[in-house]
Subunit: 137 residues, 4 copies
């Protein structure tokens, strides 16, 4: 999908002055992480021991919302506001970190938690990389 | 990304009794289409002749919202409600169709509209295929 | 809040040719219902007998997503597409109906389910009223 | 609407240990602000001088997304993560501030920009009040 996201970023008449590769990667990871979190929450809900997965379902829901919103904000390249973009990326990284930490505790029991934790860690890293490149810019 | 979406669908303890391939493809297309629509709306907004792209920006916004919601609803496999799933898919297909029709009129002028129109048509087709498989199920 | 929603609808330079009162009411109910569903899902998740509330948490999540998207689409008055608006309203009404039906079964046990069921029924009615007025238009 | 939001917060079996009034007010303002931003963006898009309102449409879109996500995260009282809640509130306040600043420049020309700017300022204040109360807690 990187190609599709990249192609659209490049077709913009006034592209953002940021590291294009870091931007495309972060948008992509946000989308993939949002989907993984929604799917993981629903899978947790269907597990027999749902009572031990309450916190996981909650962090999944927050993380899905943050990732989706971050992917949207980053997809808008015109007139980027660095303050807003930075704050959104920090919030997304915080949600990914909290969700990964929780999912990792169930990773050995549930494949969906393991897959979701991996996505959260990758997305958190992509957010931090883009944050670094914004700070350098 | 199909792999990631598929892996999560398969990790569900009580997977939906639907055509798994059609489901994964539809979720994936909804995500890609939502991103394309958000990016296209922002690119349209930055074009000099923004005045002729008002309808495009609006259909992009509706389509992004519908695709995102449809991707979420479909990612929840537990206790699927066929009435709701069907109505959501029909609404998503309608939004994709309206957006594609509008974007196609600007496709020769703007690469982002051409790319977005293609995504909308692919997503519309994926929604209809899943609708057909729900009707057969 | 009706006042706020109404004031903004009236400030639009090219307002939609629909029953303004029905439109404002529907937007408002969608927002209130989305919030109620998110809050109810989280409250269900914290109940001791979460195992019996799985379906409720799921229908809450779908309904919150549909209501939010419907509120957004309806808030965009320029160049309304009746096909899309109609399909979205039908999907929202279906999600509200499914969620109300589920919440009503727990209404005597849980105040949050009772409050949420009431919101869902009111929102469903507002969607159907607006659908009727679109058909007459 | 405060009543409705409050009633649901109170019906939660394990309510968050935060200032309930500040929480309810913030959720409510997030919802109202999200709707105002979506309506303002669409109204801007329909104005003749849309070319001068590009930045306004963009900040509206970001602010709507952030407010909606913040309203959702705050509506989930179980197992609150202060780090995530704080980061989300800061991101929302930043988006509200940026949007208010932009809308205020068009407030004398367009009623929708004036109404939206007011909502953004109120929402920003509600986010900061809740942030303060979290820091005290």
């Amino acid at each position: 999908m990187t190609t599709a996201v990249n192609d659209l970023l490049e077709a913009h008449p006034a592209p953002a002055e940021v590291d294009r590769g870091a931007l495309a990667a972060c948008i992509e990871e946000c989308m993939a992480c949002a989907q993984a979190c929604t799917a993981c929450a629903d899978a947790c809900l269907a597990e027999q021991e749902v009572g031990t997965l309450r916190r996981c379902i909650r962090t999944d829901a927050d993380c899905a919302d943050l990732c989706e919103t971050t992917g949207r904000v980053l997809s808008r390249q015109a007139t980027v506001d660095i303050d807003v973009a930075g704050a959104v990326l920090r919030a997304c990284a915080a949600a990914c970190s909290a969700c990964a930490q929780e999912c990792e505790q169930h990773a050995s029991m549930h494949t969906h938690c393991r897959l979701c934790a991996e996505r959260c860690r990758t997305c958190e890293a992509a957010c931090r990389r883009l944050l670094d490149s914004l700070a350098d810019g």
